[in-house]
């Protein structure tokens, strides 16, 4: 049992999930096109199919090259030591600033260019803030 676990590929279900969406929508796309010859719907369906296909193929490619992660296994080995799951940032003001910049751009589209310019400046500075901040943050 444990042996099986260790060789069981990771991310497999995730990959198949995305690929099955891609496959289903692809079938729908073909049926729809030959039934209707209508452009807009076919294009949108095709795009939706690609949306599943692109990440799905990537995951599938990986799933054949990686071992199962603990969350992929039915019976994972209990962790022997502390596990670092990932880095999670502390609180940050920049998402708020970034969003206010976006809102300003949006309002600029309605009320005038000066709001748009202001928004662009705010968004750029928020991006800078974001980037600088990414060096900090703790791990869990």
């Amino acid at each position: 049992m444990q042996q099986d676990n260790m060789t069981k590929p990771g991310m497999r279900i995730e990959a198949l999930f995305l690929l099955s969406i891609a496959l289903f929508v692809a079938v729908i796309t073909v049926v729809y096109w030959f039934e209707s010859y209508e452009n807009s719907g076919t294009v949108m369906l095709l795009a939706a199919s690609l949306l599943g296909l692109v990440p799905g193929t990537y995951y599938y490619w990986w799933s054949r090259r990686m071992l199962g992660r603990p969350e992929d296994l039915d019976q994972p080995e209990p962790a022997k030591k502390e596990v670092v799951i990932g880095a999670f940032p502390n609180g940050s003001i920049w998402p708020f600033v970034f969003a206010m910049g976006c809102a300003s751009i949006a309002l600029g589209l309605v009320f005038g260019l000066w709001l748009l310019a202001l928004g662009v400046i705010v968004v750029i500075s928020a991006t800078a803030g974001f980037t600088a901040e990414s060096r900090r943050g703790g791990s869990v």
Binding site: L45, Q75, N90, L109
Partner: protein
């Protein structure tokens, strides 16, 4: 409770331990926390409260609409005001309440807890989503205060009514940019949910052990990624038509107005399931817990969800049957087919209750209320799926009744979700008594409001009309509908009172007030920063149940019991599981 906790801890000795980061964590309070906290629980609560506020606003607009329609030849509001009212009612409820409440609020709070993650995968993106959503929402609502008023072309904004000639002014533009902002917010949240579930699950929590609520949120996230970019690009085109002189939706310049309907409904129908699936998930969490049984047909439920989502990408033109330019049989068949997985879900829910020990605490009451109300909406949906029938029901109050029946069911489930997870979020119980009063007002109100509208639709009352003459048999039913809508409002008032009472006089909830099944009930209420100090070993889709009812082997590594544990006395169990 104490004994259970101890039992849980002793079975935990082999579980993964998490690094304690509390010492490194800095948490501001109050306003600054709202602005800056990247904790998914804080963002989730912000989403829930904000969307609840928008719901109250949208509901208030609906009450004005109902008052206007309560009597014939009424002139409570002007024609223009009425158009603004129903446009903004629909827009607020669809774009700012139901969706953000579900995938912004509930998913944000619950999904990381259910998968045993410390936070969402991209916490700062998550915070950005929230602020994009709130600023978009405010911009949309502020449209009421500019010259010319808010958008007044219906929440579907059919071209060419939504062009610069027919709908001039800043209000419609604000509606467009608001949807751009909230659209990006939804897309970011979708990405976040998928990444969280794919990468941050607890050890042993395979995809086929995920709680159905979390699964549904993954599917919803995929649908968001399919649907919202289409809406966003359609809105950009609409904006270009209005301001840059393009003619994408204008016949005069060689454009195609029907293209808008195609684009909009390609977003719009998956959107319906973006709204519905989270609440299917909520009900799927509540019913097994209060029936004290595992979910019947877990895998069937899962594939039903996937089937609904997949089919929902191919049904958009059933909103366009009467345009005369769509492929009727194709869309009709696809629409019928969606009822099959939905039916499977219903039978699974019923079979979960079957021979259970059902406790009718408030969340369960809401869940059953959802089942009963949603079935009405589902059946009338079947009647609408036939193009010939749609020809006379389309754009009448029959359709209005159909989708309100559906969304009122979702609303009941939403309140159920609030009551169900409120103890986890706050550490307090809501009052059962007030909750039940609130439920009965909402449930009866929902049906009194919308069942008369079915009949009105069959009698030929079109939607979006501001008034009607007396003596054609519409008055009484409209009056009834208005009374019902105020009953819903009273129910909502009791809900608010319930919040207030629990805030003033808290009843401590403990970690696991409902005898829950999934990981969120394993941590404290409210959970600490980064959620879990320890995680139980996951060997089924009911890890916390396994710990509590602790069947031998459930927590022992190497024991291959992937089926949910059952009562030891139950000899039939093995047969059933095998069957």
């Amino acid at each position: 409770m104490t004994t259970l906790e101890e039992k849980a801890l002793t079975s935990q000795e082999v579980s993964a331990e998490l690094t304690d980061v509390k010492s490194r964590h800095f948490e501001p309070s109050g306003l600054l926390n709202w602005l800056t906290s990247t904790d998914h629980k804080m963002i989730g609560k912000s989403y829930l409260i904000t969307s609840f506020m928008f719901m109250l606003l949208g509901g208030a607009l609906a009450l004005v609409i109902r008052l206007q329609l309560a009597s014939p030849n009424n002139s409570l509001v002007t024609l223009h005001q009425y158009n603004e009212l129903f446009t903004m009612h629909g827009s607020i409820m669809i774009y700012l309440f139901v969706g953000p409440f579900a995938f912004g609020g509930l998913a944000n709070y619950i999904v990381p807890l259910q998968v045993g993650a410390p936070d969402m995968a991209f916490p700062r993106l998550n915070l950005l989503s929230y602020w994009l959503y709130l600023s978009g929402g405010l911009i949309m609502v502020l449209g009421f205060f500019v010259t010319g008023g808010a958008a007044d072309f219906g929440w579907v904004a059919y071209a060419p009514l939504s062009n610069a000639v027919n709908s001039p002014g800043a209000g419609p533009d604000m509606w467009i940019v608001a949807l751009l902002l909230t659209g990006f917010s939804a897309i970011f949240t979708g990405v976040n949910i998928i990444a969280t579930v794919f990468y941050l699950r607890a050890p042993g929590l395979t995809m086929f052990r995920l709680p159905i609520f979390t699964w549904n949120m993954v599917v919803v996230a995929i649908l968001i990624l399919i649907a919202f970019p289409v809406l966003t690009s359609a809105l950009v085109m609409l904006y270009a038509d209005r301001h840059f002189g393009t003619h994408i939706f204008e016949v005069q310049g060689g454009g195609v107005p029907v293209l808008w309907q195609n684009l909009f409904w390609f977003f719009g129908h998956p959107e319906v399931y973006i709204l519905a699936l989270p609440f299917f998930g909520v009900v799927t969490e509540i019913i097994p817990v209060f029936s004290r049984k595992p979910l019947f047909g877990y895998k069937g439920m899962l594939f039903a969800t996937l089937a609904i989502a997949a089919l929902s990408t191919g049904v958009w033109a059933h909103h366009m049957f009467t345009t005369g330019v769509v492929l009727l049989p194709f869309f009709s068949l696809m629409t019928y087919l969606i009822s099959v997985p939905t039916g499977v879900k219903f039978f699974n829910w019923i079979a979960t209750m079957w021979r259970g020990h059902i406790r009718f605490d408030t969340p369960m009451l809401y869940a059953v209320g959802f089942l009963i109300t949603f079935l009405g909406g589902g059946l009338s949906g079947m009647l609408l799926a036939a193009p010939p029938l749609d020809f006379f029901e389309h754009d009448t109050y029959f359709v209005v009744a159909h989708f309100h029946n559906v969304v009122m069911a979702l609303f009941l489930a939403a309140v159920g979700a609030l009551v169900y997870w409120y103890p986890k979020m706050t550490g307090r119980m809501m009052r059962e008594g007030i909750g039940k009063i609130s439920f009965w007002f909402m449930f009866i109100g929902a049906n009194v409001t919308f069942i008369p509208q079915y009949i009105l639709g069959l009698r030929g009352m079109p939607r979006r009309i501001v008034t009607y003459p007396p003596g054609i048999g519409w008055h009484f039913l409209n009056e009834l509908s208005t009374i019902g809508s105020f009953m819903i409002a009273v129910g909502a008032l009791f809900l608010v009172i319930n919040f207030w009472v629990s805030w003033r006089k808290p009843i401590p909830a403990g970690n696991d007030p409902w005898d829950g099944h999934t990981l969120e009930w394993y941590t404290t209420s409210p959970p600490p920063h980064h959620n879990f100090d320890r995680l139980p070993i996951v060997r089924s889709e009911r890890p916390v149940w396994d710990v509590k009812y602790g069947l031998e082997g459930a927590a022992i590594p190497g024991h291959s019991n992937s089926n949910p544990p059952s009562s030891v006395k139950d000899k039939d169990h093995a047969d059933n599981a095998a069957g």
